[in-house]
Amino acid sequence: MLIPESWLRTYCNPPLDTDQLAHALTMAGLEVESVRRGAPPFTRVVVGEIVSRGKHPNADRLSVCTVNVGEAAPLSIVCGAPNARAGIRVPCALVGAELPPGEDGKPFVIKQAKMRGVESAGMLCSARELGISDEASGLLELAPDAPIGQDLRTHLALDEAVFEIKLTPNRADALSVYGVAREVAAITGAALAPEPRRAISPTLTEVLPVRVEAPDLCGRFAGRVIRGVNARATTPAWMRERLERAGQRSISALVDISNYVMLELGRPSHVFDLDRVHGPVTVRWAREGERLELLNGQTVTLDASVGVIAAGDTVESLAGIMGGEATAVTLDTTNVYVEAAFWHPEAIQGRARRFGFATDAGHRFERGVDWATIPEHLDYLTGLILEICGGQAGPNDAQTLRLPERAPVTMRVARARKVIGIDIAADAMSAIFTRLGLAHTRAGSGESETITVTPPTYRFDLSIEEDLIEEVARIHGFDAIPSRPPLARAAMRARPEAERSLHTLRARLAGQDYFEVINYAFVDAAWETEVVGNADPIRLLNPIASQMAVMRSSLIPGLLANIRHNAHHRADRVRVFELGKVFRRDASVTDGPLTVAGVAQPLMIAGAAWGGALPEQWGAPKRAVDFYDVKGDLGAVLPPDARFARVQHPLLHPGRAACIRVADAVVGVLGELHPEHLARFDLTQAPIVFELDAAALQRLSLPTPKPVSRQPVVRRDLALVVEASVESERIVKTLSSAAPAFVQSLDVFDVYRGSGLSEGEKSVAIRILMQDFERTLSDSEIDEACQRLLSVATTELGARLRT
């Protein structure tokens, strides 16, 4: 909202300069986002009159003007503007003038100069050259009576400040110049001038019959017939300037006047072309399927949740939001019907948004507009129309149906002190209400003292005790409330030791050379349907772009896109991870403390490694990262009992993919990206990817250490030749099941395929560590154990000893 400072000061003029006033408003909750001026700084530009215009001897497009700037001798100035002609008054930059910087950013200084051989003693300016507007087609033509020689900044009031205020939705009462003035008076204590009024003596008796059928829509309705107006009248300059500074383009006198009253007093109104209103007027809820062509050209189809003003069988206006095209005033209009009403906020809220637009009237009505001053404001509007457009006015025809209650609100002084946290005196609170213009009474004393406020009809935000406490705090000043470290009971808080925090998981993956990334949770639908294999992803109803249309059910495609991005920037090795929620439809999920019915939203941790196993370096051979590298990395985050098993997964290479189980539950997958997805992400080398349920990784068990044996350890190696398809975990499990208790560990330390073995065979070398707790093992016990392991391997796995 734009509030011109001079307009504001006509109603309340505190002894503060522009910046102080802006600060005071900001600190009272009416945030001044910026203070705009009419034009950027420039100097020595005055009003000049072109006395005569002659041709330039050496250039067809230039002219030589004689310009009167109020000095003894007129100036001769060379000018290229097409509209330069004798008699007009234009801005004239004198020699020495400094104009706003051009596109090169340097200030532009006017010097006495020869232009194509003719002396020029200044420059005539366009609006754009002065930074007033973008208009550059010719000289800025000033009013014919502009005082010659007057400083242009003074003449056009270019130094006048306009406050751009970001108003919060609760402050309906401040949506006007007068509303802000009322606030300035409350903040500063400066006097508030009364609202402008016009007394109207009707000269017509004509009344347009209006029937309000929906008092839950319209609480009060006032209208008046005005005949014989001149719709082509010129809007007075003072009104046009105020409108323009407030950001409202001048359209036509009747529309301008309606807008002016809205900006000044916060009173939206509507002006109908009376000759186009056919039949009795009714105010009612729309009927299903009724259609209306609006002023903005949009045609809307209505239903019973939207209020309308109808004439006969035709809907003419969207109540409280926008008028219809059919009854809009034009330059040919001579008879009008002006209307101002109270529309219940609940009857307006959200309606315009549903049709996809917003209007100044709707914005005000859905927040609440004062109903008490409707007849007075209608008279003011009428008075301005009669003054500017002429005409004969009928009576002010007002009816009141159902108005909101303004129940008194009681504030306990002690409660206010408790919520705010300081001891403000009851007298001070009462003084604050007085400054705010809130009628109030006091009762009780001491701890039980109360102040009861009857909210004025223009305040829609005062209905509970806290609303009054807020007013006290706001006008007392938030700055005047101390910043106090609270006193609280000291209670310790500790995370269970057997639970790893998410930050620990992150730190561990970062320690394995992965960088954390954050990707959007909404992704391209094709990533879900074609890459992840989720046929029915959760869709956004209003995505901002098609590549952000569905909620992801896997973090992996985003990581692949991260690899692509970095590869495009010449990275040859990328290792990234992300911790985030994924989203899937799941009918088994019910509403719970952390759940929403129908949607599974588990937190996952996923990673991708691409390029070399190690960064390219001097001391290690180059080798592409593979499954086992990343499986090793995962040791940093998986619980020790995690188990891997082959799995088929749409994202992954069918022969190089594992699901990961912890305590029999599948907690994630690890594998090489399926080659069919490489091209989509512009890759030739397949990344290794993983995705794990973060919650499963957080759970650990407490250590349960056993005593350490002091007996000697014996190591034996067993190299077994088995079929290549026999998985190492099966070998270890088979041997473990047959091992005597003193066998402490069985670990694969080498796998070999190649010469010396036949096709389809591999040799797996197992390290066996043996140690008894009580005594030294004898050679025969050791040999016997090895023999037994070998024979189990032979019978169960078809293994033979490698020789």
């Binding site: 954390e516 909620m551 929620k581 190690l614 370096q617």
Partner: protein, 346 residues
């Protein structure tokens, strides 16, 4: 003429000094102390002397022998030391070559901020809450005193998904972290009423709004804070949040101001602005958080009696805090996954 003992000793010393290798030193030793060595020969010649002379001459020769042996030991040690030094010199490496193996990754800057915020609030006993990102209308809006059609709803442009909640309203992507405070408070209301345990929690997480330009991302992070007890006031809010900013930015050289504002879920409501006293952002008010005393309707939706329980809430943008902390000017850097950016936070 025969050499004096001193001459023999001097000659031995000179010879020892002249050799530069172990075997040559042993050869030199043999010439003095060996079987036919000069000093050995002199000792052998003692037998021919009368007894008194034998004694004194013998002592002299033995002293000379000890001197030579000492010189030998010293020279041996010198040579060993030189040999070791030579070996070590030959084994020298270029210690400036990079280390072998893998490097170290890094934590995302926004998450780094998240973690610090948890630590700072954790230091005065704040718990950390979690919650769903696809959220029900009630938790995101209505419970927070923002019913359907309320003008305040247009303050936040909401993403909706193609699913409905059990109340029949469309599910949405949470527009702020506040629904987590509602969920947490409802779970912990009983502990407050029955055991007097205050509700004291922060709720960091991802949030979503239909907004995308240089200064807005459709997905971003917030951290919500909530402290409800019997007498937690607006002055306490000012104290806690001001302290937080000073700890977070690790300086007392910043000014904090609270400015009246409006949010449906707090009253009185405040925007919190801060200003650095030094550095590149010196002297500019920077919006950092929305805050206020929790609205009684919201306290009621927590399952608590607002007559008895009051307190404050605030919500801050983690990206904003991160950008101010590290001087990052472009929001998009956080979501591009560009290693050239992320590596700087390793």
């Amino acid at each position: 003429m025969t050499e004096s003992l001193q001459q023999i000793v001097d000659r031995a010393r000179a010879e020892f000094a002249a050799v530069s290798e172990g075997p040559a030193l042993e050869d030199a030793k043999a010439r003095y102390l060996g079987k036919g060595g000069a000093l050995t020969e002199l000792l052998k010649g003692l037998t021919a002397l009368p007894p008194e002379e034998k004694k004194s001459r013998g002592a002299e020769i033995n002293r000379a022998k000890e001197t030579v042996e000492e010189a030998l030991r010293a020279r041996r040690a010198e040579l060993a030391e030189a040999a070791l030094a030579a070996r070590l010199a030959a084994e020298a490496i270029d210690v400036t070559l990079p280390g072998r193996g893998r490097g170290t990754g890094g934590i995302h800057p926004v998450i780094r901020t998240w973690q610090r915020v948890e630590e700072i609030f954790g230091s005065i006993g704040f718990d950390v809450a979690d919650g769903p990102e696809i959220e029900a209308d009630w938790f995101n809006f209505t419970a927070l005193n923002n019913p359907p059609n309320h003008p305040a709803r247009s303050m936040q442009d909401t993403f909706y998904v193609d699913m409905k909640g059990t109340d029949g309203l469309p599910l949405l992507l949470r527009t702020h972290t506040s629904p987590m405070q509602v969920r947490y408070a409802r779970e912990h209301a009983r502990a407050l009423v029955e055991e007097g345990k205050p509700i004291k929690v922060i709720a960091p997480g991802r949030t979503y709004r239909v907004d995308s330009d240089a200064t807005h991302s459709p997905m971003f992070h917030q951290v919500e804070g909530l402290w409800i007890d019997e007498a937690i006031s607006f002055a306490d809010l000012k104290g806690v949040y001001t302290d937080f900013l000073r700890r977070f930015f690790e300086t007392d050289a910043l000014t904090v101001r609270f400015r009246p504002s409006y949010f449906p879920f707090t009253e009185p409501s405040a925007e919190i602005d801060m200003m650095f006293d030094s550095g590149p952002l010196k002297g500019r008010w920077l919006e950092i958080s929305g805050s206020g005393q929790v609205h009684p309707a919201v306290v009621r939706n927590f399952g608590l009696d607002p007559e008895r329980y009051i307190g404050f809430a605030f919500g801050s943008g983690l990206e904003r805090l991160t950008m101010l902390r590290y001087g990052i000017g472009d929001l998009r850097l956080f979501f591009e996954g560009d290693l050239r950016f992320l590596r700087q936070f390793a």
